[in-house]
Symmetry: C2
Subunit: 362 residues, 2 copies
């Protein structure tokens, strides 16, 4: 395992041979200066140094100068571990627990979180669960031992009840993309239902009647909601009670592609397809190539260069999702009593060509 850093040498050897050894990249067992060290050099008490460092006004200009110069020469850097311990172990670190780090979607969310948190002097620590429900609690537990100030998470475990104690202790928990289970927590989700239903309505308006839906299995809240939106809009138009064009296979990479091929091979193939998430979109685009004159396509989630490729999407601002979540954290930190909120981030249909094929039924 990893060795701890070198500690202060109680009595360092006299620097008799200083002249012979240059101050080169040596690994002097010198240690970090403390308040006491600075105080000793400046001829004041540690507390006075502390006052200077904290910018307290109750220090004479002269003393302050002396302390500051001593601190500089010793390269003093206040130890926030000690400070935080003294202050009741309250840190300014907020954790973002995330399943799959390689999904660009979450990165943009993280960017939004980071930006908002930093406006309030909070830092973000990123922890991944590798999309493994079992590891969620373990990861969270580790973070709590570090005394993170709050928890932002994309819940993946079936149950977040294990956080109830922590919540009562005042640690805000904000869930992202889907709500928590068995835990009172704020959450920020997308307009999944509304966004998907809207897209389907648009297709129906363009004359489509056979509309496919390709997505991962709908275990996740977000996917459930999108599926619900899809079905609702179809039912609303009186098209069918149950669509034969749903493909809820695991849409990681190639599966979605295959799903589309299967759909197109049907006796009555769909004239339009909706993808339930960005992975599915990639598969659909691969399967359809650029033949959007044959089949209309709209994907949930925007992606890089979708504009160039002319792909119509149900888009939203991932950074805004993160920003709102971080905002909730700060709000809950300032007012731990408020009722839990669920914020919906708006989606909007961006028409770029792939989804605008009009159908004129005979």
């Amino acid at each position: 395992m990893i060795e701890p850093a070198v500690r202060r040498g109680a009595d360092s050897p006299p620097d008799s041979d200083r002249a012979t050894t240059p101050p080169a990249p040596s690994l002097a067992p010198q240690s970090r200066a403390t308040l006491a060290d600075v105080g000793r050099l400046a001829g004041v008490s540690p507390k006075t140094v502390s006052r200077v460092v904290l910018g307290s006004s109750n220090v004479s200009k002269e003393t302050r100068e002396r302390v500051l110069s001593a601190a500089r020469s010793l390269r003093f850097r206040p130890n926030h571990l000690a400070r935080n311990l003294r202050h009741g172990s309250v840190t300014n670190t907020v954790a973002f627990v995330i399943g799959d780090l390689t999904n660009p979607f979450y990165f943009l969310v993280a960017a939004g979180i980071e930006r908002e948190l930093s406006r309030h002097g909070l830092m973000m620590i990123l922890a991944a669960t590798e999309d493994d429900p079992a590891s969620e609690e373990r990861v969270v537990e580790t973070l709590l031992k570090q005394r993170v100030r709050a928890l932002l998470m994309v819940p993946i475990a079936p149950d977040q009840a294990y956080l109830e104690g922590e919540r009562q202790l005042g640690t805000p928990v904000v869930c992202i993309d889907r709500p928590a289970h068995n835990l009172i927590a704020d959450s920020v989700v997308l307009e999944n239902f509304r966004g998907t239903a809207g897209a389907v309505r648009e297709l129906i308006r363009a004359g489509h009647r056979r509309i496919g839906f390709v997505c991962s299995p709908a275990e996740l809240y977000s996917h459930q909601e999108r599926l619900r939106g899809y079905r609702y809009a179809l039912a609303e138009a009186g098209i069918l009670d149950s669509s034969p064009w749903e493909r809820l296979e695991d849409a990681d990479g190639q599966t979605a592609e295959q799903s589309v091929h299967n759909l197109l091979a049907m006796a009555e193939p769909p004239t339009a397809i909706i993808a339930g998430n960005n992975r599915a979109s990639a598969g659909v685009v691969r399967a359809l190539g650029n033949r959007f004159d044959r089949v209309a396509f709209i994907g949930f989630d925007d992606f890089e260069l979708a504009d160039v490729a002319g792909i119509s999407v149900i888009a939203y601002d991932p950074a805004e999702l993160g920003r709102q979540a971080a905002r909730l954290v700060v709000e809950r930190l300032n007012d731990p009593i408020g009722l839990p909120q669920q914020i919906e981030i708006p989606t909007r249909l961006i028409q770029r060509g792939s989804g605008e094929l009009r159908i004129v039924e005979p």
Copy 2:
């Protein structure tokens, strides 16, 4: 500002009215249990509890059980702040200091870092400088006060000399994508020169003589190296000493697009274009549309759906970049003496159509 958490109530009221008040979402001013609390409940000393928590063997099975059950009932969670303070303020948090969080490239790097670090029990804290050179030192300073164990950074400030003291104290610094200035530090960079020169050679082999290069101004090491590779390959083929088809404008978004239009409007327009980074690529693709039968195109950096769009790229594995950087951190943590290394992550040309146009000069 943000309020500190509620502290322990010295004497909580007797639970006489327990029956009337349900254990609902109340905000009991109860505080976190400490080793001492657990010890008191289990009838042992704090030290014994510590032993149990640390998994020491010198505890009777019977005592251990008692302590564990007490810990559970008090929801005890060891305070790593205190532990780390006692241990010389050594944390297991590594910082990744990054300029632009919205660049998907860095997110994949971060994913690689996170994965590798977590294999060694280290966590990643993400900090952004917003690509502002002036803020780099401020951000780093904040992180050092938190006593991060090591520093991974994409250097943006002109100089990292301010980290020399910290390095001597044993904090590993590993630079990503470009080397540090005035600081002895490991670094992980791309095969910028080799990758670009290789792509140019490929274009020359296909008959191209007028080859354009669109990139941001080459202040950054990586861009300098790519430009150098481009020029070298041209000179090597004896084509020109100085290319009139270099466009080193700020390639954020639209500028690159404009650059391409300018290039194509030349009396002798280039028959092939190389983009120096992914932002520039996006611009070039926008400008060229899908007309790669007129102008060949190769971009540095791969991107989502580039395969579908048929864009040829100089690709590499961003996660591998992060992995190697994290590996160096761990290595340096275990062996602080080793000489600084510079690792180059290999690139490879992926031909997907946009860059394979053959030219037969008369």
